[in-house]
Symmetry: C2
């Protein structure tokens, strides 16, 4: 590192320490190295971790960043697993860790919303509501109870209830701009506007979208809408035995989603995906070979009653509404699936008590089904869980520890997430392409398709591997990049990018120019999260900070 | 007009004529004067009307505008009645009339969408779908079949079906930026992205919102999502007799909207609003006095069976779904309303044949009810109508002509549209304030409340008057401005502004500065719709073009 750059950073760190207190500036090498480790190969290093306590400190940190030309990279909880964890999109940033800003600043039971800071996690909000005996449900992702609500929403992550589109169910953003000034979006920009936490657009241009998947501002507060608990809830599970069944399934579900009968996402996972949710790679039975041999996959699916495609979803409403939706779902899926099962709280309680007896009577091995599906069942009611996290240990040789931490434990995970039209033909074409590519690179093509909106399928491809297996880091990244390219060639573009691929969608043209002018206007010094979704021309080719360690 | 400015404009007009053909440049004084006339007092004059045929011509027109420093103001159909019609937000613009760009460029029955240009009207799309025997419904506003779909959506107008939030049900904007370059938003920016017309966000910052209620670009193409016709449709109508009943009504409807039982807007109109929908001002019975005497209002309401508040809405679904929703609606409104009636196509057909008989049996004067409610019934099925337009003739002394044109006919109309939380207490507080102010200015406080989203009420206040009545123009504008101010003081801000008040929300501060930097970046010459929602500092005080006629 040249002494110039080191000088800038030392100066900035000193000033940040004054702004947030020295105890909230971390420069310890092992902590920095931990924060530089995600679930796939990265080379970006960080200079320090700064932990502001409130909005005012965030503003001051940005002013210092500008003065010292020292870029910062904000994280909320940093649990952006599969897309980059805490690792910045470019080298030489200081992490701005917003985890201390964890206040729930407003809550309204009747109108169903909560206003939170970036450090508020799914689990924290869940507990908050429970303590108050609230009838409101959150919409949780499967990532972990420790995930930030704001972090996930601004990344446009999604969950499992009718409020699954997280960014679409939030409004009234408080944003610190790169120069340290603050705005609020929508009606929140007006003093004491009554509809500020309730109405998305406000008046005049709607700016919310600018601050999602971007580096144009730091969201320091946001209102999240919450769903009133329904009178009655029933989950459904189905499966098809043959890969060919997928297209018919998607086409059967679409009309029910479009006419509002199904109000939440259906998730459809392939055999590999379910298998990796149930346990680790069967190293012994595979005789150490990878990828999973086809015959063994078939055998495991037969043993564990896993279909080629396995779906779940839920019905929300009064008993009457759910009954009618169930009738329509049965009718739509008739002949399309080999099993369709419904589960509610009562059945779940009974099952726990009489699982063995139940199996004798019904022939349905409820107990095993429950082990598999209970976390998903909870997620569909907005109960956060970290069970899905265990699947990041799929290719590890040791079992997941009690306190799982994929970044620390060398779990390899790359998520590639193309969006396709909600039509069977596209589901088939997309998934066939994915299976071919991922197998070709020697990984298991674990795929889920989520009917996130009426008209689209969000496909999540997990490339799960062991970062400690020699060569796997490079092979997985090559696989991810080939997926991105080949899928784009076929018209399937990702809804979200990993920090390793954020410049991949910046094809030359007016759109990229527009993004760059916006960035130039709001952040002329390129100090906020450089390279994050908006890549300023030339900055990728010539990193401003050398990549030798700063610590 | 100084010779300099005239020189600029003459030069621009010559170049525009070359770009779009001289037959598409209108400078005839009577045409210009007509386009300068809206439904309230304005002083802005226009220099010419230019009618490009396609996106390429729009681009060229903007390049000319920049070269000649001659600002343009785009309109789609120009039917922005009550908010400014075709009149630009600032003086000295040339109208860019996009009406010739009226192609429906894409249509997909299965995925329910249509991609249109700005000149495509509600009526045109309705006919298009009907000709093809499509099962898709549009969502129409009550303004007229001649309203542009894009014009209404980018103004964030709303309608009556579950797709009522027009901007919220569109995506994939093609936008000509002020410098003449073109971008597409969302996935549409990528070549042949399959989800381009289906998915709102795309990847990276979401820019759609920038181009609604703004002057940052001209939307030349947009995808509009369409709703599949439900198996069964049933409208509901209700009323409460006392003004005090409003709060309980709103609180009873909210849970049904929030839990998805009611999927579309309920519209609740006060007595004045319904009265002005039924006919013109009762000049004779009022002995020429205005505003409408209270005793006469009461008498008319009794005669016409109008409640203090009168609601309508619809249920969409299978017969079973609608039946259950009806049960829940009945239960929720029990004791809250004096009447609750349901109407479907069959009842409507029967009613037309046996209205007299039906009245004798049921005591319900169905025929009159139908005359009043049939247009609303159609709107709830996405059938455009121009009947609501007749109410703009409320205070005129002659009946509405067969071809209504409020701009031409001197109909006075100012719409003020505050947003409030979807709670009874706010509905009461807001409407009481409105009634007091509007009566004070001598107009009838015609109010409707639309439960547009789960959490908000969109209130539309119509100040309807006769532009030919001396003093009314000024009084109505003063009333509108006092409404805006007093409502804002009470925390109720408008979702949309008239061209006469677009700078009223630009309070000094970081938000206004941000809007101005965006404008400066995208349109340094301020040639695109100057003053429209974003007011560049100083430009209101010193209009760049003198206000003497250019023709």
């Amino acid at each position: 590192m040249t002494s110039d750059v080191r000088g800038f950073i030392t100066d900035a760190v000193t000033q940040w320490a004054e702004a947030v207190g020295p105890e909230n500036v971390i420069t310890d090498a092992s902590c920095l190295r931990a924060a530089e480790s995600g679930t796939f190969v990265t080379h970006q290093q960080i200079s320090a971790i700064v932990r502001p306590a409130d909005r005012g400190e965030v503003q001051e940190c940005l002013r210092i960043a500008n003065r010292c030309q020292a870029p910062v990279y904000p994280i909320s909880s940093g649990k952006n697993w599969g897309y980059g964890s805490r690792v910045p999109a470019s080298d030489g940033c200081t992490l701005l860790d917003l985890g201390r800003m964890n206040r729930i600043v407003d809550f309204n039971e009747e109108l169903g919303y909560v206003t939170v800071e970036p450090g508020v996690t799914q689990g924290q909000l869940y507990d908050f509501l429970k303590e108050r005996g609230s009838r409101l449900w959150i919409d949780a992702t499967g990532a972990s109870p420790l995930c930030s609500l704001i972090g996930n929403a601004v990344e446009r992550g999604f969950g499992h209830t009718p409020y699954g589109d997280h960014f679409g169910n939030s409004c009234g953003l408080e944003v610190v701009l790169p120069d340290g000034s603050v705005i609020e979006t929508g009606f929140a920009r007006f003093p004491s506007a009554k509809a500020a936490p309730l109405y998305r657009w406000g008046v005049g241009p709607a700016l919310d979208g600018l601050f999602s998947q971007s580096n144009l501002g730091i969201v320091t507060r946001m209102t999240v809408w919450l769903m009133p608990a329904p009178e009655y809830f029933q989950a459904y599970y189905f499966r098809v035995e043959s890969p060919d069944g997928l297209a018919g399934l998607v086409d059967a579900l679409r009309p029910l989603r479009m006419d509002g009968t199904i109000r939440s996402s259906s998730h459809i996972a392939n055999d590999y995906k379910v298998l990796s949710a149930l346990g680790q790679y069967p190293w012994e039975r595979a005789h150490g070979l990878t990828p999973l041999p086809g015959a063994l996959l078939d055998q495991l699916c037969r043993e564990l009653k896993i279909g080629a495609w396995n779906g779940s979803g839920a019905l929300y409403g009064t008993r009457g509404q759910v009954k009618e939706a169930r009738r329509l779902l049965r009718r739509a899926l008739s002949g399309k699936v080999s099993r369709l099962e419904f589960l509610d709280d009562r059945k779940l309680r009974l099952a726990s008590r009489f699982a063995k007896l139940y199996e004798r009577i019904s022939g349905w091995n409820l107990e095993r089904t429950l082990t598999v599906l209970k976390p998903v069942y909870g997620l569909m009611q907005g109960i956060p869980t970290d069970l899905p996290l265990a699947s990041t240990y799929w290719r590890k040789r040791t079992p997941p520890p009690a306190q799982m931490d994929p970044d620390r434990d060398g779990c390899g995970l790359l998520w590639c997430s193309p969006v396709a039209p909600n039509q069977g033909s596209h589901a088939r074409q997309l998934t066939e392409l994915v299976v071919e590519i991922v197998l070709d690179y020697g990984f298991e093509p674990a795929i889920s398709l989520t009917v996130l909106t009426d008209r689209t399928l969000s496909c999540i491809i997990s490339i799960a591997y062991d970062r400690e297996a020699p060569g796997d880091d490079e092979r997985a990244m090559a696989c991810y990049k080939e997926l991105l390219n080949r899928l784009a060639e076929n018209g399937y573009y990702p809804y979200r990018l990993s920090t390793g691929a954020m410049s991949s969608m910046a094809s030359p043209g007016c759109y990229t120019q527009l993004l760059q002018s916006l960035k130039q206007t709001l952040d002329p010094g390129d100090v906020l999260a450089p390279g994050r979704y908006i890549t300023v021309e030339g900055s990728q080719q010539e990193p401003r900070k050398p990549s030798t360690p700063a610590h």
